[in-house]
């Protein structure tokens, strides 16, 4: 069966060139970069080269890059490390209701420790009101944390403007750029961010490696105490092969950024338009202006059906996508992002995300457009919410119909 992978916001395949540069570090160059002998020297240069490659992609200095194990670690490090380092300055953090759990759960944890968190609401398109953000700032505010782009909707947030607000008030600014890096130009200096997180496995590097940008001069308490690795900013033996892979992936992402984005954008637009045209009773989740979403992301709800059952049906066709349904989120609630956007709950359960990659082909998209409408219809025919006026009036159906 043909396999069509449209879940690149969840994770991406390792790029063959990335794997190629990694392999010598599993086979021959196995040293610990902290060692002074040949085995250590063979690898320490490779770590520094990767640091330069990562830095170049986001216009940082190599010394500002700290290697970490995943995006979640970076978000925890940035936020908890700021809370601890700047506790004497204040106890207020501003973030949004649509952040990744790595940010939201970290903030919830800090609430228990006496921090006040403002979770900025979003509108029905999932966008922020910057005037509200500015109004939320108090003399206790030590951090603004806003993601560069949302993993579920693909919405892009106005990072440069937020950076300007942060600068105006002299407040530290962290951005979770896990979904933005590799899909959009990311320039830490232009954006005015102090802390930025990226994750390898979203950009063709392997799972288990990421990077935290720490602007020079930013006081940040480490999350992992111990050895002197990463100049005391992150203890633990380096994931050498992973780091080398991340460097290469960043280099490739920079080289092919424009071309990959254009390619994904064209196919995403085709998929989006095709679905909107072919499947009735749908709701696009995220900003209606396609320029304000990541070029690869489409999130859409199909009324009357539930997301996991749609995913399983698509999966039988070899199509991999994801859903905001509770049944796939690991929690009992559907996606908090859909909730924040006031998406009606049964539509939230049916929200379906297609996220394209550089390898996605026109045939992939054509095939999805070929099988999706009938698949949705088949599930609708099974749904008590669909067309239920035939039997008896049902409050639930009325709610859905109103959308």
């Amino acid at each position: 069966m043909k396999r069509i992978y449209l879940d690149n916001n969840a994770t991406t395949p390792v790029h063959p060139e990335v794997l190629e540069v990694m392999l010598p570090f599993y086979r021959d160059f196995f040293g610990n970069p902290s060692s002074v002998h040949w085995a250590g020297r063979e690898v320490s240069g490779a770590i520094e080269k990767a640091r330069e490659q990562v830095a170049a992609l986001i216009n940082a200095a190599p010394a500002e890059i700290v290697f970490i194990s995943c995006g979640s670690e970076g978000d925890n490090h940035a936020i908890k490390g700021t809370a601890e380092a700047l506790r004497d300055k204040g106890n207020h953090i501003i973030t949004t209701t649509v952040e990744h759990p790595a940010v939201l759960e970290t903030c919830k944890g800090l609430e228990k420790k006496g921090f006040n968190i403002t979770y900025l609401p979003v509108d029905r398109d999932g966008m922020l009101n910057l005037a509200e953000l500015e109004k939320a700032i108090t003399d206790q505010t030590i951090l603004i944390s806003v993601m560069w782009a949302n993993n579920e909707t693909g919405n892009i947030y106005p990072i440069n403007e937020i950076g300007a607000i942060a600068a105006k008030y002299g407040i530290r600014f962290h951005t979770d750029a896990v979904q933005a890096v590799g899909k959009l130009p990311v320039d830490v200096q232009k954006a005015g961010v102090h802390l930025l997180v990226l994750s390898g496995h979203k950009i063709g590097a392997p799972k288990g490696v990421g990077a935290l940008y720490i602007k020079r001069g930013t006081r940040l308490t480490p999350l992992l105490d111990g050895g002197h690795q990463e100049r005391g900013r992150r203890a633990g033996t380096h994931n050498v092969a992973g780091i080398v892979g991340l460097g290469k992936a960043c280099e490739l992402a920079g080289e092919h950024l424009v071309e990959n984005a254009a390619h994904m954008r064209r196919l995403r637009d085709k998929l989006e338009q095709g679905i909107l045209d072919a499947v009735p009773d749908n709701k696009l989740n995220g900003h209606p202006d396609r320029d304000r979403r990541l070029p690869n992301s489409l999130n859409i709800s199909f009324a009357y059906i539930e997301g996991e059952s749609l995913l399983l049906n698509l999966d039988m066709y070899g199509i991999a996508a994801s859903s905001g349904s509770a049944c796939t989120s690991g929690s009992l609630e559907p996606s908090h992002v859909m909730g924040a956007m006031c998406v009606e709950v049964s539509l939230a359960h049916s929200s379906t995300r297609f996220s394209l990659g550089a390898e996605t082909t026109e045939e992939d998209i054509d095939f999805v457009l070929e099988v999706l409408p009938a698949t949705v219809q088949r599930l609708r025919d099974m749904s008590p919410l669909y067309d239920c006026k035939k039997t008896e009036p049902c409050e639930m159906c009325e709610t859905v119909k109103r959308i």
Partner: protein, 122 residues
């Protein structure tokens, strides 16, 4: 994640649909939980002669709905009332742990339909 039996009932659900002039109709679940099951019954001389279902929900919800219809047809009302959610999930060779709470409601829906039938016929 799902057993082969679950996938079979999910892929080829038995007895999907509605029964016009059903003798009993039961509905459980709600949209916020992500699962709604509706069961329609035909009863003849205390024996369930036909069952149909409509379900909004995940793979487990659809499979358990399908399974409960197969299990209920031919049973007496009393026998059907003895059917438990647990029995349904066992008949499907089990469900993932996180599905036991929300999606394993098919027997409840059947019982609701029986209640509705008894209410009508009383």
């Amino acid at each position: 994640m799902y057993s082969d039996k679950v996938m079979d009932h999910f892929t080829n659900p038995r007895n999907v649909g509605e029964i016009e002039n059903a003798d009993g109709v039961g509905e459980v679940g709600n949209a916020s939980c992500g699962d709604i099951m509706k069961i329609f019954l035909k009863v003849d001389e205390n024996v369930i002669t036909d069952v149909k279902f409509k379900t909004f929900g995940c793979g487990a919800a659809i499979a358990t709905s399908s399974m409960v219809t197969e299990m209920a047809i031919g049973k007496t009302i009393e026998e059907a009332l003895a059917l438990t959610n647990q029995a349904v999930s066992e008949a499907l060779d089990g469900l993932p742990a996180q599905k036991m709470h929300c999606s394993n409601l098919a027997a409840d829906a059947l019982h609701e339909a029986i209640k509705n039938y008894r209410g009508k016929s009383a």
